[in-house]
Amino acid sequence: MSATNHSCFVITGSLTLEGSVAYLDSDGKWSETLDKAATFSDSETAEDRLAEVRKAESIITEPYIFPAEMNGPRLTPLSTREKLRAEGPSTRLRRPDGSGAL
């Protein structure tokens, strides 16, 4: 499957130690922000790269590919799930003692 105009694929997973969301960047490192993610124009290339990086299980857990689109400089996931992974939970959690930490 090839990408249409602006769409692409991103490799993501969970950092094994922290459990946090991470994206594969163009240096082959795992970045915690989406804007640093490497993009692949077709899923086969992405799958091939995925096969290489998934072996480093002490660093990354359950990596996979998801589709996204480039809107100018901005990379946006297509699914709600991936948007939430990128941005964090959408709920406002205000605690009575004033702490709002998620």
Binding site: T16, G19, T80, R85, P89, R95, P96, A101, L102
Partner: protein, 552 residues
């Protein structure tokens, strides 16, 4: 409550050590993630959307004050300052890091707690009535039997790799089932036979999820001494015959349906024959030993407080409202049980900050005997409050924002973590719950709507128990967009029934207005304000509600 013996302490310490070793073998590569996953799940460690999630066991929902303080410490030290109480009477921490989890388990072991078998295809936490031991309608306290089942099921060598998860629940009351036993893989009701002997009614094959089912009665009366051997027989039949080819067809409910109750129960009885007289028998001495752990606390001799409480409840004040809804009659004269609503307007259902946990621990000692119960509806209970201290307690709870007087009202809604947190979800649930709480915040209106349970799940796995809500909301994925189904008519009690989907799913913007229309329809059609939503629905069926919500 149950006090750990040297055995129990050794077991949880060794378990924590075993997990420490497993983590280290995972990080060294000796265990692949594929091999590590079932091992970490058996210690309640999930990998969710944003982080690991650790589910800590709270056996039958009973916590001692010092345990609550330890949970607060863990929330503060290893997490982001809060925990989430679940629909199986457990607690979840949403942000632990992998290498810290063994230390968390060590800390839990210090206060006789653990995360054993809170996930994975094994026997999970045995749950019960949140009023066990204090309810007036209780035949007998089910907790000694819950503790027996806990011990029997923990690290049971034969049943660690079942076809799927397995959940057992007990109730000790005949009139009302506050433990939803008919929605469990095995549901057990304490009963008495004509000779006054205590035994059990056993239901098998209840559950929610993709194929919700109400449990079937498999044994009308099981004599007390056979509790464990009978359960062992059921589990052995399930372990051998449960489907392993399809995870959506692997629960025991599917097996019971496929075989039919007569054949299923015949297989169980056949196996049971072989083990009935074995060392699995529960002796009278064992029952007494267990019951001693749950003996009533040192209640003071107090005059009856029913009239005084009724007087408080008649007041048209915040205290009065709270007393009407959140204060429950207690079997001991002069005492009440109090529901602490973790359903305030700002926080997700079931969440509590570390500071709130510390305060609740203190309150449990000041206004009770240092025990706190976690309900299966994302609330807490202080089980032994002197009725003459209710007003003082109320003031303290208001300061902590856990005094919302909405127990069994619309906004006492159960809500799973949903797509904001959970890997399995299709849609967000917490924002829907928050919108509902903000929209329906008039207590008088909620009281007028009366008794109801609203339950929200973010996916078909039904952790929010949406099938058995008076009103259930199920989040789905409709062509890549979040959408919500509305269902009516569920119930989790002795009159258990599964809700029916009303019609087409709603968008995120439409679901709360749709809910409002369903409520308006009820108010319009009820015979009197005393007729509850579920009664009206059962009387009239879903057609008038469909018309009210979707238009004729």
């Amino acid at each position: 409550m149950y006090k750990y013996s040297e055995y129990d302490s050794t077991l949880v310490r060794e378990r924590a050590q075993q997990f420490r070793d497993q983590v280290s073998r995972r990080l060294s590569g000796e265990l692949t993630e594929d091999e590590f996953k079932p091992l970490r799940l058996q210690n309640g460690l999930y990998l969710q959307l944003h982080a690991y999630m650790l589910r800590v066991a709270i056996p039958y929902g009973l916590l001692a004050a010092q345990q609550m303080r330890k949970l607060a410490h863990i929330a503060r030290t290893y997490d982001r300052g809060y925990g989430h109480f679940t629909t199986r009477q457990n607690i979840q921490f949403n942000w632990p890091e992998l290498e810290q989890v063994p230390t968390i388990l060590d800390e839990l072991a210090e206060v006789e707690m653990h995360a054993i078998q809170t996930s994975g295809n094994c026997i999970r936490n045995t749950t019960t009535d949140h009023l066990a031991g204090v309810a007036r309608d209780e035949l007998a306290d089910p907790r000694p039997y819950c503790e027996m089942v806990r011990q029997w099921s923990t690290f049971h060598p034969e049943f660690a790799f079942l076809p799927r998860k397995f959940k057992i629940a007990f109730t000790g009351s005949a009139d009302s089932d506050r433990a939803a036993i008919r929605l469990h893989d095995i549901g057990i009701q304490l009963v008495e036979n004509e000779d006054g002997e205590l035994g059990f009614r056993v239901f098998v094959g209840g559950g929610m999820g993709r194929t919700p089912k109400v449990g079937k009665l498999v044994r009308e009366f099981l004599p007390r001494q056979h509790l464990i051997s009978y359960l062992e027989a059921i589990l052995r039949v399930y372990n051998q015959l449960g489907r392993r080819d399809n995870i959506y067809k692997a629960r025991i409910k599917i097996l019971v349906d496929a075989l039919g109750v007569p054949e299923f129960s015949a297989l169980v009885e056949k196996e049971w024959e072989e083990i009935r007289e074995s060392s699995l028998q529960v002796t009278d001495a064992e029952v007494e030993r267990m019951q001693a752990f749950f003996a009533p606390p040192a209640y003071e001799t107090l005059p009856d407080s029913d009239a005084a409480v009724a007087g408080m409840q008649a007041e048209d004040t915040p205290l009065g409202q709270w007393a009407r809804n959140n204060v429950v009659p207690h079997k001991q004269s002069g005492y009440s049980a109090v529901v602490l609503s973790l359903k305030s307007y700002a926080s997700p259902s079931g969440d509590l900050s570390d500071k709130q946990m510390e305060a609740v621990a203190d309150l449990s000692e000041q206004y009770g005997f240092g025990e706190i119960i976690v309900t299966h509806t994302q609330d807490l209970v202080l089980p032994d409050v002197r009725s003459d201290a209710l007003e003082a307690l109320f003031t303290a709870l208001v300061d902590l924002d856990i005094a919302t007087p909405n127990h069994n009202r619309l906004t006492d809604l159960i809500c799973c973590p949903g797509l904001d947190f959970c890997n399995l979800a299709n849609a967000r649930s917490i924002p829907v719950a928050q919108e509902i709480r903000q929209r329906f915040d008039d207590i008088d209106y909620l009281d007028d709507l009366g008794e109801m349970s609203l339950k929200i799940s973010g996916c078909i796995n039904a952790c929010g128990h949406h099938h058995v809500g008076t009103i259930g909301i199920l989040g789905i994925d409709k062509r890549g967009e979040e959408a919500y189904q509305l269902m009516l008519g569920g119930s989790a009690g002795h009159d258990a029934s599964l809700g029916k989907v009303l019609g087409q799913a709603f968008s995120r913007e439409e679901i709360v207005p749709a809910l409002e229309k369903a409520l308006k329809t009820y108010v319009k059609l009820r015979e009197s304000p005393e007729e509850t939503f579920i009664e009206t629905f059962r009387r009239l069926g879903d057609k008038p509600f469909r018309e009210g919500v979707y238009g004729a």
